[in-house]
């Protein structure tokens, strides 16, 4: 029944789109004041429980109250300001006169048959700032003294040239002034599109300049989708054993992980549950701490009890019989999972906090808590050299019982961290992932030899790059010619040189490179044309392919190779892929 963005919920992150069209990111906490900067400030409670996508106007503060109140501007009022469809002569070359029926231009004739001007246009207006009778100082005065609407009316009244202006440019003038002086903003929810818009303006490199159209391509071609097992009566066990695991490498601060998580139904906490816990206004910090101590207690009482996800974290405090998912080191889920491979000790998925997932403040009710696993390159490739992967010393129960609870807690915590790490690493090394999604500043040709073998047959490989060059290199490694040369080598029982063949070119089918750009248009009544300017920068490229099982591989698996040949091929596979 509930919808994630049905209304503004407490402690949510959201955007205010200001008259400048810039997005302002806020975290809305109950009983606080939201300061929008130039537009003024208002109590957060005036937005809580209200709907998204409306335009809110900050009203003038009354004497008796400490802050301004808000008004929801009905869309009809907004559209009335734009709908000046009856007369729209041109101000410039691109805007022909277009009296419209249903917005469709009927005629373009500005000049009558006898050469007289039939329709008023901007030929005679003079572009001159001095034609505004009010000085800037006077306008500033006005701004202090009265409401926005009033200012606009005064400015318009004092504009000498306004009568000469056509309806269209008058509408445009009004619009410009409206933008500047009306204290309005739109409230937009935290979602992938708005987040991209926001980061793209502020620090595009943080998300590798990934546009929404690129992200759409990446998620579609990755085939990421929900793969839980509920509703499948038969075969559930078999399907759940291997299904729905994606391997991800993400240098976009978590944007790609978030997008995949969204497709896999892992990004948003159940709003109903979120509501329940948010209702306890005192914040989650204290209850979280309570929960953590509780988890530790349970652990020390019954070692190894790593139950499933608690149905309601808050409730567990009162009903200690329920199994709980650990705040610190939960055992990862088996299906519908994202495994994130990262180059540093810790992954950078900071953008996920806007969706309620923060590694520093774990929320055991967030789906990512158990469905996102992270491991470093070292843990994947040389787990034995990783400290966390090494099993901590085991202590017998009767000795444990003699320990102080603090020491015991630390002991169990260590065990849990190791158990989680081992589960993640072993699961990743097992391979058989449904797909690989890669958006990284690292050289893909160094990543692929290690990751392609981890993808199952028929699985999906998607690589994003802001610029084409790295992907052109990948295409070249899987080129027809290189593949033919490779096959030629093995057919002659030669070992292909790993320098010439960093990857086994037979492993990917239909490698494809593409780029998408959404070209924006202006669609004002009678003035429909492509935007005059748009964002430059990186175009964004997406490489896609399917993992396949070449004929020889299949044969080898069946063990039909005679000794000598088999060795050669194995060495090839090892050298090229491992």
């Amino acid at each position: 029944m509930s919808t994630v963005h049905s209304h503004i919920r407490p402690n949510a992150y959201l955007f205010l789109r200001l008259p400048s069209d810039l997005l302002k990111l806020i975290e809305i906490k109950p009983n606080t004041i939201i300061d929008t900067g130039k537009l003024g400030s208002f109590p957060s409670n005036l937005l809580l429980g209200r709907p998204y996508y409306y335009k809110y106007e900050i009203l003038d503060k009354t004497e008796s109250e400490a802050y301004s109140r808000l008004r929801i501007v009905p869309p009809s009022e907004l559209n009335a300001e734009i709908l000046t469809e009856d007369a729209t002569p041109s101000e410039s070359r691109g805007d022909p006169a277009t009296p419209t029926v249903n917005g469709v231009p009927e005629a373009y004739d500005l000049v009558g048959e006898d050469g007289t001007v039939v329709m008023k246009n901007n030929r005679l207006t003079i572009d001159d700032a001095s034609r505004q009778a009010l000085s800037q100082q006077e306008i500033e005065e006005l701004k202090k003294s009265s409401g926005g609407k009033e200012i606009i009316e005064k400015i318009l009244a004092n504009h000498a040239g306004l009568e000469e202006k056509t309806t269209f440019s008058k509408a445009k003038y009004t619009l410009r002034k409206t933008k500047k002086y009306l204290k309005r903003f739109t409230v937009l929810p935290m979602d992938m599109g708005n987040l991209i818009d926001y980061v793209m303006v502020k620090e595009a490199p943080r998300i590798m300049e990934m546009t929404e159209e690129s992200l759409g391509l990446v998620t579609a071609w990755s085939n990421a989708h929900y793969s839980g097992c509920d509703g499948i009566v038969e075969k559930a066990d078999e399907l759940c054993a291997g299904g729905g695991r994606w391997l991800v490498i993400d240098d976009t601060g978590g944007l790609v992980v978030a997008a995949l998580a969204e497709r896999m139904d892992l990004l948003f906490r159940d709003p109903e549950e979120a509501q329940d816990s948010a209702d306890q206004v005192n914040g989650t910090a204290t209850s979280n701490r309570a929960l953590e101590t509780f988890a530790l207690e349970v652990e020390s009482a019954q070692p190894g009890a790593n139950g499933g996800l608690a149905e309601n974290g808050q409730e567990t405090t009162d009903t200690p019989t329920k199994a709980t998912s650990h705040l610190d080191f939960p055992i990862p889920a088996r299906t519908d999972t994202i495994t994130l491979l990262h180059p540093a000790v810790q992954p950078n998925v900071s953008l996920l906090k806007y969706f309620g997932y923060d590694t520093n403040q774990p929320d055991p009710l967030h789906p990512l808590h158990t469905h996102l696993s992270t491991l470093s390159w070292l843990q994947l490739l040389q787990p034995e050299s990783d400290v966390t992967y090494r099993e901590p010393e085991h202590t017998a129960d009767h000795i444990l019982r003699t320990w102080k609870s603090g020491k015991r807690g630390t002991y169990w915590k260590k065990r849990r961290r190791w158990e989680r790490c081992k589960a993640i690493v072993d699961d990743a090394r097992r391979g058989e992932f449904d797909g690989l999604v890669l958006a990284s500043n690292m050289d893909p040709t160094s990543i692929l030899p290690h990751t392609i073998p981890l993808i199952r047959g028929g699985g999906h490989v998607v690589i994003f790059s802001p610029t084409p060059e790295p992907l052109v290199k990948v295409m070249d490694l899987y080129s027809k010619e290189r593949r033919a040369a490779y096959i030629n080598h093995i057919s002659k029982e030669e070992i292909p040189d790993p320098v010439d063949f960093p990857v086994d070119p037979r492993m990917l089918l239909a490698p494809t490179l593409q780029t998408s750009r959404a070209k924006e248009w202006q669609v004002l009544p009678g003035r429909t044309h492509p935007m005059m300017t748009s964002r430059g920068g990186a175009e964004g490229y997406v490489f896609t392919a399917r993992k396949v099982v070449p004929l020889e591989g299949g044969v080898m698996a069946k063990g039909n190779y005679a000794g000598k040949k088999r060795k050669a091929v194995e060495a090839v596979e090892g050298g090229a892929e491992g």
């Binding site: 409306y54 159209e213 391509l217 206004v281 052109v472 429909t528 993992k547």
Partner: protein, 495 residues
């Protein structure tokens, strides 16, 4: 057929959402013949065409008995087989995909790979059965209810091959026979992204056409099959799909059911412009979170997608996102004009420009002379000069010192063109051509420059005085505003 609820509950998970560990009989697979040439196929154990091998699919790259496609790892490369047409022959199937091995699929020339499987074919059939294909054989025999000897084990033909892939909306779209124009991946991926379609969402789609968008939408909303099995508050994702062309409805309905999508896609035979989106009386209205209109006059359908009609098909508890897909600018203008007059916000329009990029190595230089797919002119100034001098030298020798040349002709390496070409050709065999030349990229030869214009808009949830009062009570501001309003303070605390 009008208003029919087309649902099946066969309990089978959709092959689009669950990839079995191996390929299975009676499930959908996509045969990848070569780039952009995909063939959807339901794998069968039983024969209906009279082949000794059981069910067989013929392609340009040879014949593929399904017994060679079932029970193998997904993504496997499979060699074509020699098939025995049996007594009844193959009359019908031949017309569509012509038989005739030609080099092989996947764009790889069939290099003479010494494959043990090809070697094996020289042995007797009995050998094969015993060592290599017992599982397949058994399966086939069992489902036919015949002794295992009945269906003959396929013998590899040694030439063409294909790959077997699990189906996805992308491969399905690429393999569609075009009953109508379809929405392709670059457009639908962006549309679904912009429409904020997530697992659990409900989307309305009209017209369904060939079902390309339908499949992508189904994947996007999917969050489980049967509501009864999960907690009550979970909304299950649905695609409400409408189409007024009866044969298309029938085809799509059949496809959805064989794809295990009938529980997710609710297909209705209907003219949505005249009759709207309401369902049969016993079915609650769709409660859509998103709408995709791919029909000639979206503004006519939009009349039925307002908030305050009797059985409004929109989710009353949240915003509704809309996309209309129209090839002409006039359609866009009419749509936008309608949206502006009917309380839609966030109206915007764009077109997705997608290019596929060819990557190849371009070899330039005199040493490429006579080779294929190269530019055999001089690669550098030095090369040009050397060649010019050579020619110059030849000429002057010819004129001034003919006799001398004849004497020590060999030393002067005056090579005939034929000799030169022969030498280049020989050298080329040892060169690593796949690593030479300039690595370049360009758009593929054919670019889709215009698909359609995408109009996006959002309809916020309705918000009346009552709602505002409710929110005001829940989130009081008395305290911050000056502390006069004690009741509101309480409300704020309770939150």
């Amino acid at each position: 057929m009008s208003n029919d609820v087309l649902e099946t509950t066969n309990g089978q998970p959709s092959p689009f959402f669950h990839t079995t560990s191996l390929t299975e009989a009676d499930s959908l697979a996509i045969l990848h013949l070569k780039r952009d040439s995909l063939l959807p196929l339901t794998l069968r154990t039983a024969a209906d065409e009279g082949y000794a091998e059981g069910a067989v699919t013929n392609t340009r790259f040879g014949s593929f008995p399904h017994s060679t496609l079932i029970g193998i790892e997904w993504g496997s490369q499979v060699r074509a087989s020699k098939v025995d047409t049996g007594s009844r022959g193959r009359k019908k199937k031949e017309t569509k995909e012509q038989l005739g091995p030609e080099g092989g699929g996947g764009g790889v020339p069939v290099v003479a790979v010494d494959d043990p499987r090809t070697r094996k074919k020289r042995k007797s059939d009995d050998d094969l059965t015993a060592s290599e294909l017992p599982a397949k054989k058994l399966k086939q025999g069992a489902s036919n209810g015949q002794p295992p000897v009945a269906a003959r084990v396929a013998v590899e033909a040694g030439s063409g091959f294909i790959h077997v892939l699990p189906p996805t909306p992308e491969t399905w779209t690429a393999s569609l026979d075009h009953r109508t124009q379809v929405v392709y991946t670059p457009d639908y991926s962006y549309i679904l992204q912009r429409l904020r379609v997530r697992p659990g969402s409900t989307i309305i789609e009209a017209g369904a056409g060939s079902g390309s968008f339908t499949h992508a939408a189904a994947r996007a909303v999917f969050n489980g099959y049967s509501p009864s099995l999960t907690n009550k508050s979970k909304r299950h994702g649905k695609v409400y799909s409408y189409e007024y062309h009866e044969p298309r409805v029938a085809t799509l309905c059949q496809e959805l059911s064989s794809h295990g999508l009938s529980n997710i896609v609710h297909l209705t035979h209907r003219d949505v412009c005249s009759s709207g989106f309401a369902l049969s009386p016993e079915h609650p209205p769709p409660q859509a979170d998103a709408i995709f209109l791919d029909l000639p006059a979206p503004w006519l359908a939009l009349k039925h997608l307002a908030r305050f009609t009797a059985d409004a098909p929109l989710n009353p508890h949240g915003p509704v996102h809309l996309c209309t897909f129209s090839p002409c600018i006039e359609q866009v203008m009419s749509t936008v004009s309608y949206l502006r007059r009917n309380a839609w916000t966030e109206i915007s329009m764009c077109e997705v420009q997608n290019r596929r990029i060819d990557v190849r190595r371009e070899r330039v230089g005199l040493k490429e002379e006579g080779l294929r797919g190269v530019n055999a002119s001089a690669a550098t100034v030095e090369e040009a000069i050397d060649r010019l001098r050579e020619v110059e030298c030849k000429l002057s020798d010819y004129h001034s010192n003919r006799a001398a040349v004849e004497v020590k002709g060999e030393q002067k390496k005056i090579q005939s063109k034929a000799e030169r070409l022969e030498k280049i050709k020989l050298e080329a065999e040892t060169r690593k051509l796949y690593m030479e030349g300039n690595l370049v990229q360009r758009s593929e030869p054919e670019v889709r420059t215009h698909t359609s214009y995408l109009v996006f808009a959002t309809l916020p949830r309705a918000w009346g005085e009552e709602d505002e009062r409710g929110a005001g009570e829940m989130w009081g501001v008395g305290e911050v505003m000056g502390g006069r309003d004690k009741v509101a303070v309480e409300g704020g605390k309770k939150g």
